[in-house]
Subunit: 399 residues, 2 copies
């Protein structure tokens, strides 16, 4: 597998062009509309928010992904087109139609995504002019503008690209993402768009994407809130001439995992107010679902998150969070490691060196490992600490 | 029903005496051991934490409550006797034995509760001397010391007492409680001890307590963390000579509800770092469980809690939280009221007066009412806002 290039995104694979422009949704000077176009019809796969109050573009793009084939992705930031009633659905469809007309394809082959303010109708004049501009600026060179045009409160653009050798030949993968708070009426949502020049059957691409997203984008948490607009889309256009099945597809999946893991961790690091990130690894749980519940409950616990912020090896809060996760757990047979130090076993704390461990907890990344003896379920979660800065950002968004 | 007296607790009903003393678990001068004794054998009922990492005294007292009869409650603060291995179970039992010997009853008739630091063995010499002192100071007068001796990071003692008229005659109820953060290795736990001089069958008392606790102590949240030591205990000793069944029992339950609701709200108001509290009322949900999930998800959402802190009528975060609660919800038929103002219906925001509503949101209590059209499930939850002060308290507890 090649090295990860974090200065290039969706333009790295062959047969893709993209653009990012300012059209007037955000403040002047801030890019707010992104367009990604495949030269030829591509296989498409998608993973969408499970929030029942999902936005119009999510409802639209779920149908596009179900069709298996797409030509383009159009995404705006600054307005989520969410909780906007029937007008919202018409606007999402109109975005697809505007792109489809230029490409000469069906509107049902255009993925639409939005992120930003909830409950405000999209300024469609701005969007229409933005789509026109974006087509004029489509390029297969640097795609920094494309990556920037989907950001909201993110502090930096998020790109990753990789060439992966497979038994069938080398293929390229490139992706862009955005994060920040998981959901907010002003600035919202996790989005990721992945392009590859491999030729992959839509069903294979969907299966592959689901496995990778579950272990990466679905294993991170900033504040436990699932956005109304979350979406991860993969396009595979076959421009490499390399068709993937069997072992070659597995090699591709490993590359896709590397790209998505990098972007997912970047999103956590860039979480609102975050000063430090931490990983929770659970093994030996009753089953995979139990492992995931336990890892997630620890990762989302306010008391664990504040302890991580304080650099406090507060094992009691971690065990207590594991205990309330709603999964079976035999505390007497649990072992807990913080930064590699065994701090808890046999139902009580060990006699570890508190001062040394406090020092180790000051690192940028903290690792929590919980080893259970209840089965063979394993899971991991990445999370950010909870800071006074987070409260400030989120208490005064609108007023 | 009589007026609620908040300057008296477990000593109000006849046939109970109590004491609160300092024995050396907390810093000098801070009361840390409470004893409540019924003159005669009382019916006992209990509700306990569902955390699987529950403390030794919880395991002990669950057995006592299952027996249906008890004479006393002994509780210490400053040490949770939790995650203390086998020694912890021996220490909890020893506390019961020390009390039982003085009363001439079986140890299995003594409820034991602890709250405070996790993972540190109880200083049993101090506890033993404290129990001796407490017996010397048992009184049926003012019970402020009893209430204070179970506090941890609470800013004020929490008592409530009431005389309730029932068709069978008047009975008295008195209770003390403690709250603060739901769980922390230093200071932890929700505890409530309720005494009544009514004569009630243990099974009736348990059924009554379960219904009341579900709607009061189990419908509050400060940080979503379920403590390892939570416990609500009711003792009914019959000293009033009034035996309750049928309608009389219902009248008693209404009184018990009033006492518990007051104490539960006091716990939320006194939540760590809280500057404001809010109530979430959900009606028209698919069923009671769905209503509870939705109310709780809104009440625990970090983004809702920070918006409440900022006095921000952020309806988008509330709808988004409802949408991810894992319960069916038809957003298009939902109505959302903030401080009585309709802010959302027909899948989009109404044209409310933003400035007037922002002013209304500055109140000490904020009311969120979500009316659904999916069924007849209803639920409510009380919660506190999330503040920078909360983060400060919890980031630097131990280091």
């Amino acid at each position: 597998m090649g090295a990860l290039n974090t200065q290039l995104g969706v333009n790295f694979p062959r047969g893709f062009r993209s653009a990012g422009v300012y059209c007037g949704i955000k403040k002047p000077g801030l890019l707010d509309l992104a367009l990604i176009v495949s030269e030829t019809e591509a296989s498409v796969a998608g993973m969408f928010t499970t929030n029942r109050a999902c936005a119009a573009p999510v409802q639209w793009s779920r149908q596009v992904a179900a069709g298996g084939k797409a030509r383009a992705i159009v995404a705006n930031s600054g307005n989520a087109n969410c909780l906007t009633g029937e007008q919202g659905m018409r606007d999402a469809q109109r975005m697809a139609e505007l792109v489809a007309r230029r490409l000469g394809c069906a509107p049902t082959q255009v993925i639409v995504a939005s992120t930003g303010v909830i409950g405000v109708p999209l300024p469609m004049n701005a969007v229409e002019s933005g789509i026109g501009q974006a087509f004029e600026r489509l390029s297969d060179g640097d795609d920094r503008a494309t990556a920037d045009a989907i950001l909201t409160t993110d502090s930096a653009s998020k790109r990753a690209a990789l060439e992966t050798a497979t038994p069938a030949g080398a293929v390229r993968i490139g992706a862009i993402a955005k994060g920040a708070g998981m959901i907010a009426p002003n600035m919202a949502t996790m989005l990721a768009f992945i392009a590859t020049d491999a030729a992959i059957d839509p069903a294979d691409l969907q299966a592959c994407l689901r496995r990778v997203v579950d272990a990466t984008f679905n294993s991170i948490t900033v504040d436990g809130d699932t956005s109304t607009n979350d979406m991860v889309i993969a396009l595979a256009n076959g421009a490499s001439g390399v068709a993937l099945t069997g072992e070659s597809l597995e090699a591709f999946e490993a590359g896709l995992y590397q790209v998505c893991e990098y972007l997912a961790k970047r999103i956590v690091k860039d979480g609102e107010g975050a000063s430090r990130i931490f990983e929770v690894r659970v093994s030996g749980a009753a089953d995979a679902d139990a492992a995931r519940r336990i890892a997630r409950t620890i990762a989302e616990s306010q008391l664990v998150k504040t302890a991580i912020h304080g650099g406090d090896p507060n094992w009691g809060r971690i065990i207590a969070a594991a205990g309330r996760a709603g999964a079976p757990i035999t505390v007497e047979r649990a072992q807990l490691f913080l930064q590699g130090t065994l701090v808890f076993e046999n139902g009580r704390p060990t006699e570890y060196d508190e001062r040394a461990l406090v020092n180790a907890m000051q690192a940028d990344e903290v690792h929590i490992v919980l080893t259970l003896s209840d089965g063979d379920g394993a899971a991991h979660f990445w999370s950010s600490d909870l800071t006074a800065e987070y409260v400030k950002i989120n208490a005064h968004y609108r007023t």
